[in-house]
Symmetry: C2
Subunit: 307 residues, 2 copies
Amino acid sequence: MNKLLIVGSVAFDAIETKYGKTGTILGGAGTYIGFAASYFDLDSAIVSVVGNDFPQEYIDLLTARKINIEGLEIDKEGKTFFWRGKYHNDMISRDTLETRLNVMESFEPKVPEAYRNAEVVMLGNLHPLVQLSVVEQLTSPKLIALDTMNFWMDNNWDDLLRVISKVDIVTINDEEARQLSGEHALVRASQVIQKMGPKTVVIKKGEHGALLFQEDRMFFAPALPLEEVFDPTGAGDTFAGGFTGYLAQSGDYSFENMKLAVVYASNLASFCVEKFGPDRLLSLTPAEVNNRLKSFIELTQFNMKLV
Amino acid sequence: MNKLLIVGSVAFDAIETKYGKTGTILGGAGTYIGFAASYFDLDSAIVSVVGNDFPQEYIDLLTARKINIEGLEIDKEGKTFFWRGKYHNDMISRDTLETRLNVMESFEPKVPEAYRNAEVVMLGNLHPLVQLSVVEQLTSPKLIALDTMNFWMDNNWDDLLRVISKVDIVTINDEEARQLSGEHALVRASQVIQKMGPKTVVIKKGEHGALLFQEDRMFFAPALPLEEVFDPTGAGDTFAGGFTGYLAQSGDYSFENMKLAVVYASNLASFCVEKFGPDRLLSLTPAEVNNRLKSFIELTQFNMKLV
């Protein structure tokens, strides 16, 4: 089985949407990436840190999905990273009500010996120097993907550019792509970002789908139109996990295969938003995944004969 | 050749975008619908009204595109409908700076004898009772499509519902669909609108593409990502003209063929926004249309084998 190395937060979230609010639940980019990637036939491992308050049952959820947790440090001196936020009625914009970095503040990632030779690596949103430290521990990466956010563009621009120059794929959302590139049109934004190093750029537009750019090639997959978006938390990370999980499983990093990876990624993300937190990802069956892929094909494929 | 009957404003526009401003130029929903439909092999006719100030050269542009203008009334007593507006920097929202209805205020559409038996009819955005009057003059319609806007929902709700109940397809934008249905999610909005009568609903999302709904079937086509949107005026009408033009030419009103109509429609609309007003539509060559359809296929089609 091919190896996928995942780096990202394993954390606590407290979420409020128009449908209700949660207590403290399992969250974190690494968690969503891991759960999404677990739908593929892979040897995946997560590198992260949690505190002394992190319950064993959450760790068991990771191992039950066959995610290796050798690189999941438990810091006995500190508390787990915590985020609390509230979504506006449009289910897109949100207010962060509270962020406690806790153990994440001094996180020094250590990639387990057995995963330093992973071919595919997904660097979830974290401090760019943490992401860079992981890149430096790899022995033979073939495909490194990186997610980030506006916070690091505002505060750690040079560090961010340094790690971006060392990865193959950037996966970010549309507003972040605009900020990172200084260009409004996403076609141009992707060109600017490609000049920073990554050959491939994936721009996530939430309910409006995702765009894949590589040199002069372009592919688009819509988000499946849903009757109800219950909680958007983790959808972008689920997308990233689905994207890299599919590529790692296949070992085929061609543009044509990346198209399929985007479709698998969109498909998994469409489930994620149906319940609070990662609940829906945990109850998902292979038959449900397959049926929705069929819906995706009906939604997007047509048979046009051109002269 | 199959007949397409077009009803819609033929008018003057004055447009300002971040790229500049025009003087008084040719505009109007009927104009854009007609120009878009003229890329198909059709016998099309326009029903509209202009004033004594409408230049012969603009009328010549319509006839040069082989659009029958027998139903284009010239009101010697009045002036042509005029709209002036300014787009915000996002190129989506806009402010209407001036609207002079002029001859449109007392417009009584007369469908020419030779086009009363048109199978396909595109009712562009106009007063619902004007649209209804056209429907009542038809002898054997197979497919009537209707566009409308929030203004009529605010001011002529009952008239609007009356004409909507008599058409087969509604083509509106996302915000209008939400207002018409009272539902935020577009899947649900389309269900509510279908209950008003039309079997098919097309929801235009501008740069985010278009959705086609019919019973439990759904299809999506993105807008081609562009480096620059120069002027969005008329893109929605161009879409409507491309959609109904393709269907009229083929005479095939199946859902599978409507998918192709949506792709042709999106493709034509992607040209419309590249220059001020209808300029780009008038300079477009069949080779350019065909090449961009190829780009559309590369952008959206993939080859996935499911078990």
